[in-house]
């Protein structure tokens, strides 16, 4: 996380605030106005957004976002009506990408409503506002989004970010019984008995991650034997 923050801090576009597009400026204004939640604030009183991005690949430098999905979680409930879902046309360079068999998004298929990258990002920021972002291996998704933001002259995301992988490791550290690499969404969903339907769609993965998040929090609360606060994350 520290490394990530450092990297975000060093982001080259961060300083060029004069050139920010209006939608990014609006986002930063909201963040500037909202109070930073106190460390002892109860976790179930803040708004969480569970986010997942589907991309053309795993290289943040060359790969691109194909779709974004996000769900809002208040306390112990996931609000389906307040979902975020966006699909981008796949860049021509990756039309024959290896990613297709995994997430099933066929390039330039007419099944989805497309938005262009800047308007998708604008909508995303409007949806996120000052929520805490939760995701599985969320660092990658954030970096993909930040690079996209940078391409359109905007600064990076400034929200507090929590990785469910980190949470899972705290509950069950890697060791003899749990190999280091065993914190994939599939493995965790199986461990915490979450049905793996709609895997590899952005919204489907967000949903699975959201349920995982709620289940992990409960176990952490049991382990710590108290209601969770922001400082516990």
């Amino acid at each position: 996380m520290e490394r990530l923050k450092r990297r975000l801090g060093l982001h080259p576009t961060d300083a060029d605030s004069e050139d920010w597009p209006p939608w990014y400026r609006a986002y930063r204004d909201i963040l500037a106005q909202s109070e930073v939640p106190a460390a002892d604030r109860l976790l179930n009183t803040i708004t969480i957004v569970v986010l997942d991005a589907e991309t053309t690949g795993l290289d943040v430098r060359t790969d691109r976002i194909l779709s974004l999905g996000a769900l809002r979680v208040y306390g112990n409930s996931i609000h389906l009506a307040e979902k975020f879902e966006a699909y981008l046309p796949s860049p021509s360079s990756v039309e024959n990408s290896h990613a297709i068999p995994i997430h099933g998004i066929i390039p330039n298929s007419r099944r989805y409503t497309y938005s262009d990258e800047p308007s998708m990002l604008a909508e995303l920021l409007d949806y996120l506002r000052d929520s805490v972002i939760v995701g599985h291996h969320i660092g990658f998704d954030i970096e993909m989004i930040n690079r996209a933001l940078a391409r359109h002259g905007a600064g990076p995301l400034k929200n507090r970010v929590v990785d469910t992988v980190g949470l899972a490791k705290r509950l069950r550290p890697a060791g003899y019984w749990t190999p280091e690499g065993d914190y994939s969404l599939d493995v965790l969903a199986r461990r915490y008995r979450i049905p793996l339907s709609d895997r590899h769609t952005a919204l489907g993965d967000s949903y699975i991650t959201a349920v995982l998040w709620l289940k992990l929090l409960t176990r952490l609360a049991v382990k710590l034997d108290r209601d969770l606060r922001i400082s516990d994350l």
């Binding site: 409930s77 996931i78 389906l80 009506a81 989805y112 709609d198 949903y207 709620l214």
Partner: protein, 649 residues
């Protein structure tokens, strides 16, 4: 374009009532507004007294338990909702607060369905409404919520399967034309209105203008409130406390119409008028209770209604309805001990009602009040509390000793009373007894000392006929009256037994063996060799009676007079004689199988279920029946040994 997650939820809901009645596009819209709630074990979904927010719940994973909070603060588990079950919907539709505490018994995932869209759907989808109404009426949970069960003493069975019942057509029936509505004018006093209601035994009175158009309604609750708070004088006009305007409904309204209106408006009484508005004359009143009664297969409600019945003809209707309840119990394999308790309560309630009607008729005839203390005795299977189907009446009457010169006069009164009671019971579907074992027979309507003498004679002179009488009369149970007289008789019988015990008991045991063991050497059924029921098996005489007879003689020998139910007798015997406990348990179990089988057959054929042709049994039934014969034979062997009947033969 619905998203995948909403589609997944749609996919889950589409197989669950009431969502299954919705069209795909409609349900997809419902699904996309669902809120997924995660409940760790032990967490509360909602509390009693809380107003429902705009959502109700479907269990996706896990288990939610509903508790009612008793007056002493303890929690009583009312229902356990598993995957695919719906809860928390009634308060939402009726606009009440939650009545129960809902808590996750294990880690659970709920779909909180937005009711905002749902209430509109109800209007457009009559089947959804119908499902909701029937499931509410059918389930004990909702019956409790309606508080109708509170008054009756029967514990509500742990029988929740009604929640998933398919809608029946009852809701489409027209509402029963209610009794002449009780009405008063707005300027009459509250105390007058209360008096009219008490006299008519109704829970509401309609306030009408000169043209009998409804201007308001006063219910029990309004009266209680006005008395409890004393804010309004009892001499004030009813207009001060009446609810106005009234909700009206037409004469052609169906049960479903009534329920929709009640759910929507939150009122418990609707006034029926000629044109369905308050601009025409009142013709009736429909209460929530009336609706529940038509819908509900709830024994407690039925018993309440028996208490309100004004004619034996209506008693028959109610008893017919009890048969529907019985069929439901049998179908759901509810424990026989519970079924017999419920059915006995219903039978007893009908006897008591018949007695009340008869007493009123005696008054009307100018015979006045009963001239002496008395008890009405149920005999035979009714006395043992084991009667499921309507069979012949078996009853007797016992009255306190009166001076010799008054005896004939007193007896004449009770004979006349018994005549009326048996007549009402006959009207209600309990036909007159062929053997005239009824209280209206001068032989079985006696004073305490004459009954004592009668029993002494039976115990002394052990002829076959006397033994038959003992087997019927010994299982007496007081159903109406003073309650002290049957105990006097019991005390006498035990005192008498000290003197004649051995021979009397042996004869009684002998009688229990008169029907040969139901199995032949080849392990086939012994069927009747001749007569009307040739080639049929006599379930009662060959299998059930040996068990009841054996239980009776054994319990009498053990000097346990107050137990007159066959199951309870075997249970008590198992405690008294641990060495034979297994046999007694087996016997009780066999008796349960037989009683169930007889009720199932009887219901299917519309008769008493006594005779059965082996061919009409399913393989499982045949097997169960055959297995039940083993304890019958073993019990008979035990009697033979214990009373040394080998020497008597």
């Amino acid at each position: 374009m619905p998203n995948q997650v909403a589609f997944r939820i749609y996919d889950y809901l589409k197989d669950i009532e009431p969502f299954s009645y919705l069209e795909q596009t409609v349900l997809l819209r419902v699904a996309s507004k669902v809120e997924v709630r995660y409940q760790p074990p032990g967490t509360v979904v909602f509390c009693p007294g809380e107003p429902p927010r705009d959502r109700f719940f479907v269990v996706k994973e896990g288990t939610i338990e509903l508790f009612s909070e008793e007056t002493d603060g303890s929690e009583l588990l009312v229902e356990r909702c598993g995957e695919g079950e719906v809860f928390g919907i009634r308060p939402l539709l009726a606009g009440d607060n939650y009545v129960f505490l809902a808590r996750a018994a294990e880690e659970s995932l709920l779909y909180a369905v937005n009711s905002e869209g749902f209430q509109e759907l109800i209007a457009d989808n009559p089947r959804v409404l119908q499902y909701l109404l029937t499931s509410m009426a059918g389930s004990s949970r909702y019956a409790r919520e309606y508080r109708a069960a509170a008054a009756a003493k029967i514990a509500v069975a742990d029988d929740n399967s009604g929640a998933q019942r398919t809608p029946d057509l009852q809701s489409m029936q027209f509402v029963r034309q209610t009794r002449d509505p009780i009405v008063c004018r707005p300027d009459q006093t509250i105390i007058d209105a209360a008096r009219y209601m008490t006299e008519a035994e109704v829970g509401s009175i309609v306030v009408v203008d000169d043209a009998r158009r409804p201007v308001g309604i006063v219910t029990d609750r309004d009266l209680r409130q006005s008395v409890a708070t004393a804010l309004v004088s009892r001499q004030s006009p009813v207009a001060a406390i009446m609810s106005s305007p009234v909700r009206c409904i037409g004469t052609r309204a169906t049960i479903a119409d009534v329920q929709i209106e009640m759910l929507r408006s939150g009122v418990h009484h609707l006034v029926q008028t000629e044109d369905g508005t308050n601009r025409s004359a009142v013709v009736g009143v429909v209460s929530e209770h009336d609706v529940l009664l038509v819908q509900g297969n709830n024994p407690a409600v039925l018993i309440q209604e028996i208490g309100r019945a004004q004619s034996s003809r209506y008693l028959r209707d109610l008893r017919d309805r009890a048969e529907t309840i019985l069929a439901g119990f049998l179908e759901k394999e509810v424990a026989i001990s519970y079924i017999t308790t419920v059915m006995s309560q219903i039978n007893d309630a009908i006897i008591r009602k018949s007695m009340k009607l008869a007493l009123a008729r005696m008054q009307a005839d100018g015979h006045g009040n009963p001239p002496a203390l008395f008890d009405w005795l149920a005999l035979g299977s009714q006395g043992r509390g084991e009667q499921l189907l309507r069979t012949d009446q078996d009853n007797a009457l016992i009255f306190e000793d009166v001076p010799e010169e008054k005896y004939n006069q007193v007896k004449a009164y009770f004979l006349q009373l018994s005549d009326y009671v048996t007549e009402y019971l006959n009207d209600a579907g309990y036909s007159y007894c062929d053997g005239d074992m009824m209280a209206s027979n001068p032989k079985w309507c006696l004073s305490v000392s004459k009954w004592k003498a009668q029993f002494s004679r039976w115990m002394h002179d052990n002829t076959a006929e006397n033994m038959l009488h003992t087997s019927i009369f010994f299982d007496y149970r007081g159903v109406w009256g003073d309650g002290s007289l049957p105990d006097k008789l019991t005390a006498h019988i035990f005192a008498e037994m000290e003197d004649h015990s051995t021979r009397f008991q042996a004869s009684l045991a002998q009688a229990a063996l008169q029907n040969p063991s139901p199995l032949t050497f080849f392990r086939n059924f012994v069927v009747e060799r001749s007569g009307e029921h040739k080639d049929q098996f006599d379930l009662k005489a060959r299998a059930m009676r040996p068990l009841t007879d054996a239980a009776r003689v054994l319990i009498l020998t053990a000097r346990q007079g107050n137990i007159n139910n066959t199951f309870l007798r075997y249970e008590a015997l198992a405690k008294l004689e641990p060495q034979n406990a297994q046999l007694y348990h087996d016997a009780a179990e066999a008796y349960e199988v037989l009683i169930r089988l007889r009720a199932v057959l009887g219901l299917a054929r519309g008769d008493s279920g006594r005779f059965v042709a082996p061919a009409e049994l399913s393989r499982v039934q045949r097997l169960l029946l055959r297995n039940s014969f083993t304890p019958v034979r073993e019990i008979q062997q035990l009697l033979e040994m214990r009373f040394q009947l080998n020497f008597l033969r």
